[in-house]
Amino acid sequence: MPSLWRRLRALFARARIEREMREEMRQHVDLEAAELARTRGLAASEARRQALIAFGGVARFEEEHRDARGTRWLEDFARDLRYAARSLARSPAFTLSAAAVLALGIGSTTAIFSAVDAVVIARLPYPHDEQLVRIFEQNAPGHRWNISNADFLAVDAEQRSFSAVGSMRYGEVAISTGGDPRRAVVVRATSGFFRAIGVLAEHGRLLEPRDDVRGAPNVLVVTHEFAEHELGGAAAAVGKSVTVDGAAATVVGVLPPGYRDLAGARTDLWPSLQLETPTRRGPFQNAMVARLKEGVSLAAARGDLSAISRRLTERWSADFPDTLARLTPYTLRSVILRDAPRTLSIFSAAVLMVLLIAVANVASLMLVRVAGRSRELTLRAVLGASSGRIARLLITESVAVGALGAVLGIACAWVVLHALAWIGPVIPRLAEVTLDARAVGFAALVGIAAGAIIAVQPVAVLLRGAPASALRGGDREVGAGRGTHALRGALVSTQFALALPLLAGAGLLLNSFLRLERVDAGFDASPLLYVHLSLPRGAYADDAAINTFWTRAIARVRETPGIVDAGVSGEMPGEMSGDFDNFDLLDRPVPPGTSEPTTVAAPADAGFFTATRVPLLEGRLFTEGDSANAPPVIIVSRSWVRRFSRDRPALGRQIFQGGCRTCPPTTIVGVVGDVRFQGLAGEGDAMYNPTAQSRMRDANLFARTSGDPAREVERVRGALRSLDPALALDDAGPLEPRVRGTLAPQRHLATLLGGFAIAAVVLAAVGIFGMLSYLVESRRREIGVRVALGARRPEVIAMILRRGMAFAVPGAALGLAAALLSGRWLAGVLYDVGSADPATLIGVTLVLLLVALVACWLPARRAAGVAPMVALREE
């Protein structure tokens, strides 16, 4: 491509080429002058003069010369850019407001782009992450649960689809590295888990098959960060001892930095997991991670696991009759991301709308600016600039505004990203999101594209010849020309059409959140405190030791000054932590081959109900008689009765619990009010077993206080420490903030979308305000005439309001239709509110129109204040 090369060279060697050009030109004139002097005998000066005349205009030569060289467009561009910069600098108010409005749109879009890029598009940090799967038990679409030891051992022995399978078990236990014990999440894992994940140890080794054998020494793998902070450095950690749940374990390896979240499990400690030989199919308390063999599809693995499931069902048919349950693989990615793609798609749609509104807003501003400059532009046209040249000037200016918007937008993106991170666990892996070069490139692209779009309408107006009339009249007449005004009106309508769905979405989320806040959690949390306790296996080996501890602990806490009542339960209300158990009614069993119903199952004592004020509706609470050796009894909730015992009174009915048909049946002795263990949006059905019949090592102690619960926490801790100084007591505090905290994700979702919606509404209001102000300003004379002819103030105001609302109302109507169509998107995250909730939709439409009315009112009032004589004299 010699031609391109030449052009590039010409561009960079511009100074040299121009010098040579001038030299060549001078020589030409010299030679011509010498020739003239020689052939016609002219004096040197006259010969030179004639030679110059013959040569023609020097400037024209240079210009044509450059055209021939083909670099003109770039030189023009540089000149346009300088011109645009000067022209923008002359009107800083326009430039800054346009750039700020664009920055809002570009910044939000860039932040969401970064989040989508890092969370949804980026790969998991494991080699060939597409091969990694999580395996669940599943008996119906959407109903999946963890796997059991029996499941894992069968898969490990019989599968043909995976190169590695591993099991892990989550637990919160007391740990210690020599100092005070504290509670920490630990995840016990088999060696197959680390083989499947494919991460290598930074120091020492990861778990190996010899660690899976029962009776092998207690070992654990720790994260780099834990080793650095608690074990005196990653290199020195191997060989050190950590006490986990009362038993000493030796550190055999350290993970590389940045792996505190492995396959979705957030922990610093990975003790080895030695599986007990199963005596029944359940309990289902392990998570299974596996790696597909090279070339094996998910569907093939599903078939393989299905065959294993059928054999498992046959083997354990006596105590697990659910023939529909199948081991089912899901990609690890889909399990980790959960709802993130949907949440991010909601945000993506929201920021796209904000961006479009911003662009429409600035386009409208630009239209006015061009109209205001029509005299200048017309002058340029008359002086010989082609309309293409002027169009290029306008486009350059718009793109410069867009680029400035992009620069400010990156700062704005940083803010939005932090707001997004504040949503917390709604979007996993969000902490890893940063504004990298790709984000900056994205912002730049969006900025330039926005600039180009903004230029479209002014250029269209220009090419239609609108400025031609500018030299005849004042600037205003052109700016207020019918075409320009209609265009601006369309832009205003667009902004309202875009703002309404956003406002509707935010309104629905807010409505849903307010309903959630009003949900009766089922207990009175106000003067309550809680302490999470976990009894280590070592010191509390059998039922007797465990039961003795709870009895003594409750008694000791009750005696503590400031404590009115106390009780204990295995679950924490309001959190998605509930353990499910299956059961079957003795007098109405499920048909053979179908799944038994499941419900939240929580151990509790009588004090739990009295301390939390959960009302007893029928029957009795637990008594001391409900001991380990007494016949099993159970208390159920009101929703449980409504769901499972509609046909006859629940009291006295008997069930088989946990699929055990050889165990003695359990009798229902009481019915209590609902407590929402499955989050405030969850159901209220639950069963309670007496603590003495439950072997409860992990529980929450609840204490009702007479004063501020925050002040009593230390005293309760002290009472418990006097019983067993080795217990971890750091997870304790007033209950109410904790329960309210469970609504944080919903609150943050509503807040963030609300923020976008407010930005959209403000932009739309500014848009309509700007349009009308301009209209009033440019029609002062017409208004003055009307007033002079007897129009009264209210009539003038009404006229202007009509003008403005004529664009706002159709826009809002269009937006309402869009909101109805797009509302389904939100259906999954709304609680007790329809996605087309009429009250919300009507409400937000009214709010938007009210905002529009106020935005129109201000210019209308100014119009009404026009003094006829002043307006007439001005022109």
């Binding site: 030449r6 030299e23 060549e24 020589q27 030409h28 030679l31 020739e35 040569f55 055209d67």
Partner: protein, 109 residues
């Protein structure tokens, strides 16, 4: 002074190529050669000549290099490239066909 004639659109390139067939020339030399060859009927304006030269150079039909002129001064010399030679042959053939056809039409009665 002979009567001057306007150049037909598009023929300037052909004439410049022709003027360079015998050897390299600088810009002024080309304009002088054109005047001589056309017996002073064609006088190419310099405002057309130089853009045409740069255009031809850009198309790779002629090449430019700095040398010393007969008058002993540094000057930019233009020379035909092989591509320029081929282009000249093609354009000359085309022009002849065109001119003879026009002549044919004008003679018809």
């Amino acid at each position: 002074m002979p009567e001057r004639a306007e150049l037909l659109q598009g023929t300037l390139d052909l004439l410049i190529l022709k003027s360079l067939v015998v050897g390299p020339l600088h810009g002024w030399g080309i304009s002088k050669r054109l005047r001589q060859m056309s017996s002073d009927i064609f006088d190419v304006g310099q405002g057309s000549l130089y853009p045409a030269l740069y255009r031809l150079e850009d198309r790779g039909l002629i090449s430019a290099s700095w040398g010393i002129s007969e008058e002993g001064r540094r000057a930019k010399f233009y020379a035909l490239t092989p591509a320029g030679r081929r282009e000249f042959a093609a354009e000359r053939a085309q022009w002849r066909r065109f001119a003879s056809t026009v002549e044919l039409v004008l003679r018809a009665n």
